[in-house]
């Protein structure tokens, strides 16, 4: 049919179109902010909306509130740190769970256990935030942080008492639990596809279970694993509500330990949008749009790195 393939092609363009629309919108909308903020935007630690109750002044050719300085270095650090630690925690555990589901769980229960993990993916972000607020943050303050300090206190990053349960640690833990199902499920599909001959022959050679899994199965799913990690990273970078509720909302300072409050870019946009709307000059909302653009660029960079890694592995699939 003449219509079929072109039809599919047309539909497939919707995704790039949607993304393009968002990018064009963000860029054009934040263009005045981009010009006003320059590169300092990325490196300045201070975020100041300025005096919204005085009349805007003219600076560098733009109308901005008095004292307005827009710098997002604090939020970039917060986003990257929480996502990185979350992945550091979620990837090994996710691999362990996937291997458990495929190899160690009793056969009859495999389906149920798999569903349990899927359920984890389906809990809404706000509910994670609520749970983090009610249960995890107090737990971090009273048990987890002191424990970490005792065990890892010789490393400066882990030393120093936690003053509150809201911070990088809590945010990373919540993120880790949220992205874990993404890693597990993708990996599980891939592990199931590993040909049984590969396993059987390895066992035949006398390898132990752990050796088969770690030395034969895992390397063969390396590419889907990278894909899973990227998907997980994407989810972690864009996570808004849950991080907003447990990250501690730091402003104008960088975290010095793992227990310090942080703010992620997505959480910041969500919490600041309301205030930014009160800026009569409009520069505040445009700067928020600029943050969104930066987040988008980071997502692009992450995906590019993933592509490069998979290409180096010599495979063009996935």
């Amino acid at each position: 049919m003449r219509v079929f393939r072109p039809g599919l092609l047309a539909v497939s363009t919707l995704i790039p179109l949607a993304l393009l629309a968002v990018v064009v919108f963000l860029t054009s909308y934040s263009w005045p902010a981009i010009q006003f903020n320059g590169l300092h935007f990325l490196t300045t630690e201070t975020w100041n909306l300025g005096n919204l109750y005085a009349n805007p002044v003219r600076r560098d050719g733009f109308e901005v509130p008095i004292g307005a300085t827009y710098g997002i270095w604090v939020f970039i650090v917060g986003t990257l740190a929480s996502s990185a630690i979350a992945l550091l925690l979620a990837v090994p555990v996710g691999i362990g769970v996937a291997l458990f589901l495929n190899d160690f769980a009793p056969h009859q229960l495999r389906g149920t256990f798999a569903q349990v993990v899927e359920l984890l993916a389906m809990v809404p972000s706000v509910v994670y935030g609520l749970w983090g607020l009610e249960i995890l943050a107090p737990l971090v303050l009273t048990h987890i942080a002191p424990f970490l300090e005792r065990v890892l206190g010789f490393i400066p990053f882990f030393s120093g008492a936690a003053t509150s349960g809201y911070g990088l640690l809590s945010a990373s833990l919540v993120l880790a639990i949220m992205v874990l199902p993404v890693i597990t499920n993708t990996l599980l599909e891939a592990i199931k596809r590993v040909p049984s001959e590969l396993r059987e022959s390895s066992f035949g050679l006398g390898a132990t279970r752990a050796e088969v899994l770690l030395k034969i199965v895992m390397p063969s799913v390396r590419v889907p694993l990278i894909g899973a990690v990227i998907l997980a990273l994407g989810r972690a970078l864009g996570e808004t509500m849950a991080v907003l509720m447990v990250s501690g909302g730091a402003l104008n300072y960088l975290p010095d330990t793992i227990y310090s409050p942080i703010t992620s870019m997505a959480a910041f946009i969500a919490s600041q949008l309301d205030s930014a709307l009160q800026d009569p000059s409009g520069m505040a909302v445009r700067s928020l749009a600029e943050i969104a653009l930066v987040l988008l660029i980071i997502a692009v960079i992450v995906n590019v790195i993933a592509r490069l890694l998979t290409h180096r592995a010599g495979l063009h699939r996935v």
């Binding site: 809201y166 509720m245 501690g248 909302g249 730091a250 402003l251 104008n252 949008l273 205030s275």
Partner: protein, 360 residues
């Protein structure tokens, strides 16, 4: 294979339905006039009060449907300006520059609310510590680091203050509470006014370990879970504060007295500023004169466009807001007491009514 056919037709049907709904949606007519629908959005401090008002009001006036949203003062103002909402709720009046841009927008006080400064110092939560503007400014800008700092000790002679770092808690979301708290700091402490200023969101000075919480309950929770912390919380949350066992501070007013927010002290503060309130009612009530005036109070505003889309909507808004400011209507104790707000003084009621009449 039955499933194949149904899947394909499913897809086709799905696309068709989607297309039809899209088409019909684009041409959907607005809700017809038999029932007027009003949308109120904005301040989370006013949200509980609106939620107390709306069920009773709509029961008495079944031709009006009012939806309430708690999104934040900034959103309330923005949506009132854009016309998406008919009534915007805000704890902060609009800035001069905003009024210049949107001259048809009215700021109409509906009630008066107040704020408490709470803390969680083990052993001291039952005593009312005395704090003032400069001390709080020092805590929030990091110059006062410990609870037993000489400045705090000077205000609280005889109280055994612990040697422990203070954790200042602020709001992450744009908030009317931040607005009036920062106004208190600005009006009482010139240093703060020059360096930080006031607003629904401000650039909080870098204090290592300072926590940002989301929403008033977030403030209560953060204060409750963080020993040696201090927070500013809207007075409607007195029950939560009591349940969490937080301490409430006595705050120094302009006359030099330390006060707790009670109906008496808040009314006194409001009364002191009746004469100063302009016709457009944009006035800060923070740090007012008077021996008994509690310093951290504010008008709760309805932000409304005086030019509405059609006369029926305007009439519905006028009637609702008119009811809201009446002492027998929305300003009755049975509503306001639940959120610990104060009714509008009589003259302010008149001013509000005058503004309401402008909605056409």
């Amino acid at each position: 294979m039955n499933l194949n056919l149904s899947r394909r037709t499913q897809l086709k049907a799905g696309l068709a339905v989607a297309g039809l709904t899209l088409a019909s949606g684009l041409f959907a007519l607005p809700a017809q006039a038999a029932q007027i629908t009003l949308l109120e959005t904005g301040s989370t401090l006013l949200y509980p009060l609106f939620n107390l008002w709306v069920p009773d009001y709509t029961k008495a006036h079944p031709d009006v449907k009012i939806t309430t949203q708690g999104t934040g003062s900034g959103t309330g103002i923005a949506e009132a300006i854009s016309g998406v909402a008919q009534i915007g709720a805000s704890d902060a009046y609009m800035a001069d520059a905003q009024i210049k841009q949107n001259p048809s927008i009215l700021n109409i006080p509906l009630a008066i609310s107040a704020q408490t400064i709470n803390y969680n110092v083990p052993g001291l939560n039952k005593t009312h510590l005395k704090l003032d503007g400069p001390v709080l400014a020092g805590i929030y800008d990091g110059s006062i680091k410990n609870w037993d700092d000489p400045a705090i000790k000077a205000l609280n002679p005889g109280v055994k203050l612990p040697n422990h770092t203070i954790v200042p808690i602020h709001r992450t979301d744009g908030s009317g509470d931040t607005f009036i708290f920062s106004q208190y700091l600005s009006f009482s402490t010139p240093k703060w006014n020059d360096s930080v200023g006031y607003g629904t969101t401000i650039s909080w000075p870098a204090v290592q370990g300072g926590v940002g919480a989301n929403g008033n309950p977030g403030m209560v929770q953060a204060c409750h879970e963080t020993p040696y912390s201090v927070a500013y919380i809207g007075v409607s949350f007195h029950k939560e504060i009591a349940k969490a066992g937080l301490g409430t501070a006595m705050i120094k007013n302009k006359a030099g007295h330390f006060l707790l927010p009670t109906a008496k002290t808040v009314s006194a503060a409001a009364a002191g500023l009746i004469a100063k309130t302009p016709a457009d009612e944009r006035l800060s009530l923070v740090f007012s004169e008077g021996a008994d005036s509690y310093p951290i109070i504010n008008y709760e505003y309805a932000i409304v466009n005086s030019k509405q889309a059609n006369p029926e909507t305007a009439k519905a808004i006028r009637e609702f807001l008119g009811w809201a400011v009446q002492s027998k209507g929305g300003n009755a104790p049975k509503y306001l007491d639940q959120v610990r707000f104060i009714p509008l003084p009589a003259r302010i009621q008149e001013l509000s009514k005058a503004q309401i009449a402008k909605i056409q």
